[in-house]
Amino acid sequence: MSERSPLVIPPLLRDAARAVILSLAVGVLGIFFVLGTRQLIVEAAAVENLSFHDIVPTPIEIYHAWQQYESLLLEKHIPTTMWETLAGLSIAIVLGVAIAALMDFSRLLRWILYPILVVSQTIPIFAIAILLILVFGFGSGPKITVVVMFCFFPVALNTFAGLQSADPELLSLLRAMGASSVQTWTKVRLPAAMPSFFGGLRIAATYSVVGAIFGEYITAQYGLGVFLKRSYSSFRIDQAYVAIIATAVLSLLLVLIVNGVERLALRWYYTSRRGGWRGPGIY
């Protein structure tokens, strides 16, 4: 491969550069798409005599709203939401992997746990809002719990699928060589599960910030969810969009961090694949 390229660029740097260029290109395209769609809707709204402007603010208005609340958001709301998100995501990772391991370990546990996992995802958060407050009070507890409920499911299911996907030939080889079950686990199953674990983690990271906002919506002192709710009830759509965009940016950042960690952790996996490293996810 390196014979073909006259310039030897370190692969990690090359990947990073490619990711940046791709992100920029997609970003620019995205902006055009959003602005174009917006223009279309504005015109459609004008025809229908709807007050579209009240529903979607202009970028300048959003920017002014951001300026007005910049310090409050940066000092209070965003750190609160991030703390809840990261704490919840961390617990979700531990819980998800533990559940996956239990399900992988015993067929009986799998039969018991699987329906519980699925049911856990069908509970509307607002239906258990009072329960969350009764158990965890008014601190960050209920919000972190909501994040965990949003996030442990994809981690658990994906990790479990990964554990199950270990190469059977490799497993029988190890067994034939007299490996203990702990050794099979650490040497074959766990490494085999890593790619799908990261796949699950990426989904979890995507939903985690929204989970925290759902939790804050129930009741909170600070957080993007509180900011969003107060904005809506004050009829300040421009402010609400600040919260929406901040949520999107934070989620994107988290996913990028997961991708980065995956890159570092699973280099062996992807470099061993045909066609070389294509990077996790899309970029």
Binding site: N49, L50, S51, D54, I55, Y69, L72, F126, A129, I130, I133, L134, F138, Y217, I218, T219, A220, Q221, V226, F227, K229, R230, S231, S233, S234, F235, R236, Q239
Partner: protein, 357 residues
């Protein structure tokens, strides 16, 4: 080193106090007309420093200025209370108050009545606004209304309690000589109702005038309104919102209840006389709110908080009785609640002559 630092801290604290005290004394010194507070000059204090949680009905709005004024002016401190405010969504405040998870809550007579009838005991401590300030509104240009009969044939955007909403609509319609059920009910939930009317999705909405009505005025939308307060002979008046607590707190810590209610009453007394300053206090605590909306709402509500009552918060047994009767008559409740047990004026400050009801 440590000594120096703590000395510095003490010094700065003393400075802050010295600077803070005159401002506080000034705020307190403005002669407060006693009639909001039943002539009281002294107010209850909790026996020992107590943390209490107040749960609002929704995000803070102009209805709540009295709480924030009491907080900002140190009335809660005077009462030996440390008040934490929670702003919930879609939570039954009544259940949390009744179970003692929160100490005080903002509710409405209709929800409190349902809660009591459903076995969740709560006690109303004060009527935050003396009369019902809600009303049915339309866009004046497209669907002008002046009396309830004009509402016939319109599409009503309801918030999801069709039994209650239809009962009230139908009672208003029949009182005014129109056919009942001539308004089309559409469940739209909690959304910006004025916007829905502008988009021609609904024609009629039931709003709190101090919030949505004031917002419409500010944005230059011309509304026609059938105000509930003009039809109290037809649909009985009810208190909305109210300050509630659980029966347990009333029994076990009456000192805390009295301290909280009286400090809150002082806050509302201040808001009645200083709507602008009270609005600023709310905005100081919750800066995300729209300043114009809060100021206009506070201004609009100032004369309504106490209205014609002998003091802020005063409730009458007849209002509780008439409303529970209305709910029973319309089949919304199977049996009425004990109106006398649903509320108490006992914790309000001062003393007023008993109503001749």
């Amino acid at each position: 080193m440590h000594l120096k630092r703590s000395l510095m801290l003490l010094l700065s604290l003393a400075l802050m106090l010295a600077m803070g005290v005159p401002a506080w004394a000034q705020g307190d010194g403005t002669e407060e007309p006693d009639d909001h507070l039943g002539g009281a000059a002294e107010f209850a204090r909790a026996d020992e420093p107590t943390d209490v949680i107040l749960m609002l009905d929704w995000t803070p709005n102009a209805n709540h200025v009295g709480f924030y004024a009491a907080q900002a002016l140190g009335y809660y401190d005077d009462a030996n209370l440390n008040v934490e405010v929670q702003e919930p969504s879609d939570i039954q405040v009544e259940a949390l108050v009744s179970s003692g998870v929160v100490d005080f809550g903002v509710s409405f007579q209709e929800f409190a009545t349902y809660a009591i009838a459903g076995g969740t005991p709560v006690v109303s401590l004060a009527a935050m606004i003396q009369h019902n300030t809600s009303g049915f509104v339309t866009l004046a240009d497209t669907h002008p209304v002046s009396t309830p009969a004009d509402m016939a044939g319109l599409r009503y955007g309801g918030f999801g309690q069709p039994d209650l909403e239809n009962a009230i609509l139908n009672t208003l319609l029949t009182c005014d000589g129109a056919e009942p059920d001539s308004v089309e009910y559409m469940n739209v939930g909690y959304v910006d109702l004025i916007q829905l009317m502008q988009q021609d999705r609904i024609d009629l909405a039931w709003i709190y005038y101090a919030v949505e009505g004031v917002q419409a005025e500010l944005s230059g939308v011309d509304l026609d309104a059938v105000m509930m307060m003009d039809y109290f002979d037809c649909v009985p008046d009810y208190y909305t919102p109210i300050l509630i607590t659980g029966p347990e707190l009333v029994e076990q810590q009456p000192d805390v209840v009295a301290a909280f209610v009286q400090a809150t009453a002082r806050g509302y007394a201040y808001a009645i006389d200083h709507p602008d300053e009270a609005a600023d206090m709310l905005l100081e605590a919750v800066p995300e709110l729209d300043s114009d909306l809060i100021h206009a709402g506070s201004e609009w509500l100032a004369p309504e908080f106490q209205s014609d009552a002998p003091r802020w918060g005063e409730q009458q047994a007849s209002v509780w009785q008439d409303y529970t009767d209305f709910l029973v008559d319309n089949g919304i409740l199977e049996s009425g609640i004990d109106a006398e047990a649903a509320f108490t004026n006992a914790f309000l400050p001062g003393d007023v002559p008993a109503e001749g009801e």
